[in-house]
């Protein structure tokens, strides 16, 4: 039995972090977003990062599955918190009681502690089951509660109680055993404790033994060895109960972790709503070019308390966008807004726009010009190429890559030629590309020779009102650096 809140077939697992995903976090500036979602909860933050960076939806159906669950939970936040609380309480139980016993090597101590713990876990499972009602509409939540009703039924609870009752071992313990190649007794099947067996226990106590012996109370060595044998009889059962407890806890852990993700998403949405910003459930399809969006903004600015600029983009059938224009004209902001929107859409979450229609990508990558590093000036261009080579090893048909002023660490002529070859190779291999550049020769060349099916956006250096609005337009020679220079000096 699994919660399946994020995927109808799979459960949240651990995935190794990759170098490229770290670049993505830095280049798009995702850290403040994660913080806004998870607040001070490190566990929640780790889950959010894991899902958004490593476990986005594999198909459009899964996107809708998550979108519906998110809608369900954000409509009834107090119910979502109640489910979360039961999961969290259950996970806290082992810590509250007998922790030292649970990690003990002694099977009998572990058995005693785990028997008590399991009684409490059974109560939590019942409580969770009884939370369910007809108020949920999504596939994910309706199926979860119908599974709980099916699996946590009376016959399960009774069988569990009977097994736990057999583990009252104070009066003695009986087991079937064999002997190993060193002549030692090897326990095979525990029959249980002598107490709590009802009429069976009485029978056991009165049955005449075929062989036997007693250890004198003052025989310390003998008593120690007898204790060891008793522990041996219980070893396997202790492991089995360890495993059973671990299974139930694992269920609660997955439930809690998967809920972490939705609760974090709801938190961020509420914060943006408070600032009057809209979020929308994107329409996600498979395949196609880039995206169509209206009112697309970067959530990073409002979270910093700055006002956001929104853009409209129509590139659903275009696999390549080239963004040129004025420095500080909002090019990088738009690039980040697109990247973030895409990540969130593929994760099954809200997009930061009025409307978004987009496709699923085979991985999202970023290649941003790195901050000036005085030490590395000499090999900077080679470093850029090295980073591109690393990304190329992971690119597939259908991937998305975001370039920001890449390949500019050499002269304009060389940089343009390399950017041109790389961009065309990517386009022709079916990779989606968005390229912010001031390499004029590169942009101009594409505009003149490959112009069809490429969206050219240009940042203008117009007065304040229209600043940061990017509109379709041909690349222009100057990058307005002179103006900014004059502004500053």
């Amino acid at each position: 039995m699994l919660p399946h809140l994020l995927d109808p077939e799979k459960s949240l697992a651990a995935f190794p972090a990759s170098v490229q995903e770290q670049h993505l976090v830095e280049d798009l500036g995702l850290a403040p977003l994660f913080t806004a979602m998870a607040e001070d909860d490190d566990e929640r933050r780790e889950i959010v990062e894991r899902v958004i960076l490593r476990w986005r939806c594999r198909d459009a159906a899964t996107v809708r599955y998550r979108q519906e669950a998110l809608t369900d939970l954000s409509a009834q936040p107090e119910r979502a918190e109640a489910i979360f609380a039961i999961a969290q309480n259950s996970l806290d139980l082992p810590g509250q009681s007998h922790q030292f016993l649970l990690f003990s090597k002694s099977p009998s101590r572990r058995l005693r502690a785990n028997t008590a713990l399991m009684q409490e876990l059974l109560r939590q499972l019942q409580a969770l089951r009884d939370l369910g009602s007809a108020t949920f509409h999504s596939d994910a939540l309706r199926k979860l509660f119908s599974r709980l009703q099916q699996e946590i039924d009376e016959s399960f609870l009774q069988a569990a109680q009977e097994a736990l009752a057999a583990l009252q071992l104070d009066e003695g313990v009986r087991s079937t055993a064999g002997a190993d190649a060193t002549g030692r007794c090897v326990p095979e099947a525990l029959h249980g404790g002598i107490g709590n067996q009802g009429w069976l226990g009485k029978l056991w106590r009165t049955q005449h033994e075929d062989a036997g012996f007693s250890i004198a109370d003052r025989d310390e060595t003998g008593q120690t060895a007898l204790g060891k044998l008793r522990e041996q009889l219980l070893t396997q059962t202790a492991q089995v109960l360890d495993d059973a407890v671990a299974r139930v806890l694992q269920f609660f852990r997955l439930l809690r972790d998967e809920l972490h993700f939705y609760l974090a998403a709801i938190t961020l949405q509420q914060k943006l709503r408070q600032q009057g910003l809209s979020c929308c459930l994107p329409e996600v399809q498979e395949g196609g070019g880039l995206l169509n969006a209206t009112g697309l903004y970067s959530p990073l600015l409002p979270l910093r308390g700055e006002s956001s600029v929104s853009n409209d983009i129509a590139a659903r059938h275009t696999p390549l966008i080239i963004i040129t224009g004025a420095n500080r004209g909002g090019k990088s902001t738009l690039l980040r807004a697109i990247g973030i929107s895409q990540l969130w859409a593929e994760s099954g979450l809200y997009s930061f726009a009025k409307t978004v229609r987009t496709g699923l990508c085979q991985g999202i990558f970023s290649h941003f010009q790195q901050e000036e590093d005085a030490k590395l000036q000499h090999g900077k261009f080679a470093e850029e190429l090295q980073r591109m080579q690393d990304i190329a090893a992971e690119l597939r048909t259908g991937s998305l890559i975001l370039f920001n002023e890449s390949f500019a660490a050499t002269n304009e002529q060389e940089g343009s030629e390399i950017a041109r070859q790389i961009t065309l190779a990517l386009r022709d291999a079916g990779v989606r590309v968005i390229f912010v550049t001031h390499l004029y020769s590169f942009a101009k060349n594409l505009f003149n020779k490959e112009g069809e099916n490429i969206l050219f956006l240009r940042a203008s250096a117009e007065p304040e009102a229209q600043r940061f609005q990017l509109l379709p337009g041909a690349p222009q020679a100057s990058s307005f650096a002179r103006e900014i220079y004059q502004e500053i000096f």
Binding site: D243, F381, M388, A425
Partner: protein, 538 residues
């Protein structure tokens, strides 16, 4: 079976060979080599065999035939895995012998005998499949098959198997209440473990990882504790007939002969148990003579250093080796610096008798001399040699005279001792001997050195052995057609030179960046192909 065949000496050959003087092992660094060879297998006490020099082609050919068999991976691994498993068994027996509780000891020996039978028969199976060619190993295999099929051994095997099966299958109920332990022959049916597993199987298994550390059975504590001992006795009480049969079996096959002396060679100590086939222990040990050496060569081979079974030159005084090296140096270089030594060729033929090595110091002259000596020594005891390929003269003895600068004696007494030893060796040596001489008269005056060298040369010519002579007196090399000059080179043309070439070329704007892009696989054709290749074809 009649007389037991030896894997080191052919039939009719005395199993005792002369041991050369300690100087030979010291000078040629053979001592270092054999110590390293024997280090992983101390139980077999092999070193005396390596230090004995038969100097006869009959012995060498006998060994080479076996060696060629062992160079077949299937034959080698048959024996190697046999020895590995026997070593485990030896440790098991050593422990078993010390067990104080009779029934436990009987039970453990029963298992050990079963293991021995398995190891024995898998050796026979592996060898039968591998088909050895040497008469020696074929005879050994016949002997093994004969023994394995002997009625007594068959009976032992069957009895052991039946006992083991019955002991493994016995089940009883055990109850501990308070300080009392009860046992029953009848077993109850309830199984709480299964009930728990079944009930909670609806929850998926948690990913493993944080497993509780389970207590492991410590190897050192094989003895049963007092309670386990009493449980075992109680089990015997439940099944008296089975344990009586076990005791009889132990008596017959595992009880060591109390009269038998304990062998000095640890690997042979198993001989005192009646279930052991003794000739196999000796064969195993004799084969370690080859296998331990091959194991020593393995890492060098992996590093690209050649070795080969040399051809023997008996009629003609001819010796020839290609890509040869000093084995001791090679092993040291591999271990310490992960480097290979320089490979050299050696050649003497026709009327040539003396290789005269001269040239600048630090040029590898001594290494060359050691290599020459090692080749002939290793070939002479029937082992592979450190060379790509070799035809080596079969010598009856090797005499080495290396300058020992560390001696604190006076010059005079030292020269006296050296000359005495030289004369002694020249008297013993035959035309079939080999001399390796290294910087003999280094500490005398030039005139004296010249005089002594000329005298020595005369005597050597008279005796007519093969000689490798390292000397700073290069004039010796011009003294006749029987002397071949070898020069050590420093900084020769062939040696690796680092090139930091600087070429003047016209600056070419695009060429640099594009070639860089090409280097990273980022030009249009490479990048396109790479992504297309990585993507699942649609």
């Amino acid at each position: 079976m009649t007389s037991v065949i030896s894997l080191l000496w052919p039939e009719g050959e005395a199993k005792q060979d002369p041991t050369p003087e300690a100087a030979v092992f010291h000078d040629l660094h053979l001592q270092e080599i054999f110590a390293a060879v024997c280090l992983p297998v101390p139980d077999f006490a092999l070193v005396d065999w390596y230090h004995a020099f038969p100097g006869k082609s009959t012995v060498i050919r006998h060994r080479q035939a076996i060696l060629r068999d062992l160079l077949q991976p299937s034959i080698r691994s048959a024996w190697t895995s046999f020895t590995q498993r026997m070593q485990t068994l030896r440790r098991q027996l050593e422990q078993a012998q010390k067990l104080y509780h009779d029934r436990q000891r009987q039970r453990v020996f029963l298992d050990a005998i079963g293991n021995y039978q398995t190891v024995f028969s898998s050796l026979v199976d592996a060898l039968t499949a591998a088909k050895p060619r040497s008469t020696a190993l074929c005879t050994v295999l016949e002997g093994l098959i004969h023994e394995l099929q002997a009625p007594q051994r068959q009976e032992m095997h069957d009895t052991a198997r039946a006992l083991r099966q019955e002991l493994d299958a016995l089940r009883y109920d055990l109850q501990i209440s308070g300080s009392h332990v009860s046992l029953w022959r009848e077993c109850l049916q309830r199984n709480v473990d299964e009930e728990i597993v079944h009930t909670f199987s609806r929850f998926l298994a948690a990913p493993s990882g944080e497993e509780n550390a389970r207590e492991e059975q410590e190897i050192g504590q094989m003895d049963v504790d007092p309670v386990q001992a009493r449980v075992l006795d109680a089990i015997a009480e439940l099944f008296p007939e089975l344990f009586a049969r076990l005791a009889v079996f132990y008596q017959r096959w595992a009880q060591p002969d109390p009269q038998a002396a304990i062998d000095a060679v640890p690997a042979l100590r198993m001989a005192r148990y009646p279930f052991v086939f003794v000739p196999l222990l000796h064969w195993e040990r004799e084969l370690q003579f080859y296998l331990a050496f091959l194991d020593f060569l393995s890492p060098l081979e992996a590093a690209g250093l050649p070795s080969c079974v040399p051809e023997l030159c008996e009629e003609e005084k001819r010796t020839h080796a290609e890509s040869a090296y000093d084995l001791a140096l090679a092993a040291r270089l591999r271990q310490e610096q992960q480097e290979n030594p320089v490979l050299n060729d050696i050649d003497l033929h026709g009327s040539e008798r003396i290789l005269l090595v001269s040239g600048p110091n630090q040029g590898g002259k001594t290494t060359y001399a050691r290599c020459f000596g090692q080749l002939h020594y290793l070939a002479g005891i029937g082992l592979p040699v450190p060379a790509q390929q070799a035809q080596l003269f079969v010598c009856d003895a090797i005499y080495t005279h290396f300058e020992r600068r560390e001696d604190a004696e006076s010059e005079r007494s030292k020269l006296e001792a050296d000359l005495l030893r030289l004369r002694h060796d020249l008297e013993r040596a035959t035309p079939r001997s080999i001399f390796v001489l290294n910087e003999l008269f280094h500490s005398t005056t030039l005139d004296d050195a010249r005089f002594l060298s000329q005298e020595l040369l005369k005597r050597l010519r008279h005796l007519d052995p093969l000689v490798l002579w390292v000397s700073f007196l290069d004039e010796l090399s011009r003294s006749g057609a029987d002397v071949v000059s070898i020069l050590s080179m420093v900084d020769s043309e062939e040696e690796d030179k680092r090139t930091f070439r600087l070429l003047r070329k016209p600056a070419d704007g695009l060429a640099h960046a594009l070639s860089l892009a090409r280097k990273f696989g980022l030009d249009y054709p490479q990048l396109l192909a790479r992504i297309a290749h990585a993507s699942p074809s649609s």
